[in-house]
């Protein structure tokens, strides 16, 4: 996959890969030389030397991008071995019997390994893309399935109000309130779909900016409080000011989904707590509630989007079970974070996700 260099970050990334390649190259060959030098003191035979260097070439090829470092390692090894570790020591002598063969073998090993490594990388890329495609397909399938219910309710309620002149005001109000709730639910789902398209569009890279978590929290909570079934939310952030690289609209979506999930599935809940804590190189965000907790058997499958097909507990209330959570997972993982859920010993459930720090926080100290 080749992408055009769009900005400085990309350049920086390439530069890092470049440095990393050289670093691996130098370290591996250096280590091989040291090992050979040590072994030379122990044994007088030198049959192990080519083996150790073949291993070094293999490691370099597997852990770097492209063919360059692998082939270079092969050439350098051949010359290095000839110079330092075979008789005559500290002298280049290519006239030794069988040397061209050694040379060709080393080159072939380097070439084969590099090819293998690039294949592996392409495979991995394909696997990630298939996985992403699978999530998207799952989402679309269940959405097209489940959008019918609220649409029937909205359309039906409104045409009943329009056509049935005998309805009491109270009955009309009830129908319209139901239509309104369903419309709100629909619009939350559309936000989720938009979030997914934001991630899995043509350029699948996120547009990140340096954001303050408290600002994202406060907007998510403000929006959430407009819901008719909202319960009190308590929010806390660390006192220290910390900018994190993220797509704020997507992270807001994660918070909204987690709160929505608590309200929809946490029977008996009275309060939600949202908290951010700084940990080692990342920030952990937790959304906690005092509801009924999560059924243990569901815990392993919460985020993989498979729940909506399980068929059980499919009353109207559990529509879209798991869709919101699989969207959360997609978003968090696209940010390089992790997401998990636990039941709390004192009752209730806790959902946590992490966001890595950018490591560029010195930029904003000006």
């Amino acid at each position: 996959m080749f992408r055009k260099n769009r900005n400085g970050t990309q350049h920086k990334l390439y530069f890092r890969f470049y440095l990393q390649g050289w670093l691996i190259f130098i370290l591996t060959l250096g280590l091989a030389s040291i090992v050979c030098a040590l072994l030379q003191h122990i044994t007088s035979s030198d049959v192990h030397v080519p083996m150790i260097f073949v291993l070094a070439v293999l490691i370099v090829s597997l852990s770097t991008d492209g063919y360059f470092y692998g082939l270079l390692a092969a050439v350098v090894s051949v010359i290095g071995v000839n110079y330092a570790f075979t008789y005559p020591y500290m002298k280049l002598d290519f006239s030794v019997y069988g040397y061209p063969l050694t040379f060709m073998t080393m080159l072939a090993v380097g070439f084969a390994c590099s090819t293998l490594a690039s294949h592996l990388r392409v495979q991995e890329q394909l696997r990630v893309e298939t996985e992403r495609e699978r999530i998207r397909a799952n989402l679309l399938r269940s959405i097209s399935h489940d959008l019918r219910t609220p649409l029937t309710s909205i359309g039906g309620s409104i045409s009943t109000v329009l056509e049935e002149s005998s309805l009491s005001d109270e009955a009309k109000r009830e129908l319209l309130t139901g239509a309104k709730l369903d419309a709100e639910w629909l619009s939350r789902m559309v936000e989720n779909i938009l979030s997914i398209t934001r991630i899995s569009g043509e350029a699948s890279e996120l547009v990140k900016s340096e954001e303050l978590l408290e600002e994202v929290f406060s907007e998510a909570v403000q929006r959430y409080r407009k819901r008719p079934d909202a319960v009190p939310v308590s929010v806390s952030v660390p006192q220290e000011v910390k900018l994190l690289p993220m797509d704020p609209i997507l992270i807001e979506q994660v918070l909204s989904n987690l709160m929505d999930n608590a309200v929809t599935h946490g029977t008996g809940l009275t309060k939600i707590w949202i908290e951010a804590k700084s940990a080692d190189g990342e920030v952990i965000v937790s959304v906690r509630d005092d509801g009924c907790g999560i059924e243990e058997s569901l815990l392993p499958h919460l985020f993989d989007g498979s729940l909506q097909f399980s068929g059980k507990n499919r009353s109207d209330g559990s529509r879209f079970m798991g869709i919101g959570l699989s969207v959360c997972r997609t978003i968090v993982e696209a940010h390089g974070g992790r997401i998990w859920a636990v039941n709390l010993p004192e009752g209730g459930a806790e959902f946590c996700f992490t966001l890595p720090e950018g490591g560029r926080n010195d930029d904003c100290a000006r």
């Binding site: 954001e211 303050l212 994202v216 406060s218 407009k226 806390s236 704020p248 807001e252 904003c364 000006r366």
Partner: protein, 236 residues
């Protein structure tokens, strides 16, 4: 006889246009509607409305172009209506001189609040005129004393730095309206500022820690993620 404020609604979706008209008429405004940008431009000069509610997606011209051409000759307030996913358009519209924005789907309460703020700001005159630099601004327990350059919460001085005070005072001057990052940076640090909006964000985080009880649940200054900041409307 009461003279009602006249509002021009520019929207090509008939259902949304009807909805906005119904909400506004029910709340005592006079509403005229246009479907196309060109139609809107001629109605502005012939009907002289007090306010425009403008949908950015129009059939014949880009809503942003309309804002540009209206702003070339009048300060008539413009509220932009846009769909959530078009972040950039929203910010661009605001930076070109739109006064505020609404995101679809919006509630009638939000629409009315934005309209009220926009009309009040034109009544008060251009916000940069001298009188707003003196006197006081109050919103709940927050007081800004323009004469002493102080911000007080519950009567206690919050000890803002010079820059922090300037930010709060600027937001209060446009209370109820969203101000974009670029606008704030331009006003406070001047056009030569190249450092991006982080300096503003960090200042804002510090302000929140001084004036809000809980910085994650602000009562006075709200964040519009990806757009800018909005100060709560002052008590009148």
């Amino acid at each position: 006889m009461i003279v009602r404020d006249k509002i021009l609604v520019v929207e090509d979706e008939l259902t949304i246009s009807n909805l906005i008209r119904t909400i506004l008429t029910a709340n005592g405004y006079e509403v005229i509607t246009a479907v196309k940008g060109s139609e809107a431009l001629s109605m502005i000069s012939s009907h002289c409305p007090e306010l425009i509610v403008l949908d950015l997606g129009l059939p014949d011209m880009d809503g942003v172009e309309l804002i540009r051409s209206v702003r070339s000759w009048t300060n008539l307030p413009i509220i932009v209506v846009s769909a959530r996913s078009y972040d950039r358009d929203k910010v661009q519209a605001l930076d070109l001189g739109a006064d505020d924005y609404l995101t679809k789907p919006f509630s009638s309460a939000e629409l009315l609040a934005r309209v009220r703020v926009a009309i009040r700001h034109t009544r008060m005159g251009a916000p940069d005129s001298a009188h707003v630099h003196s006197g006081k601004f109050t919103a709940g327990n927050l007081t800004i004393d323009y004469d002493k350059h102080q911000v007080l919460v519950d009567g206690k001085n919050c000890h803002l730095t010079q820059n922090e005070y300037k930010i709060v005072a600027l937001l209060a001057r446009y209370a109820g309206r969203v101000l974009t990052y670029d606008f704030l940076l331009q006003e406070l640090w001047g056009p030569q500022n190249q450092g991006g909006n982080q300096i503003l964000r960090v200042n804002m985080a510090n302000i929140r820690r001084k004036i809000e009880k809980n910085p994650a649940e602000p009562q006075y200054i709200f964040t519009e993620v990806g757009v800018g900041y909005r100060m709560v409307e002052g008590d009148s």
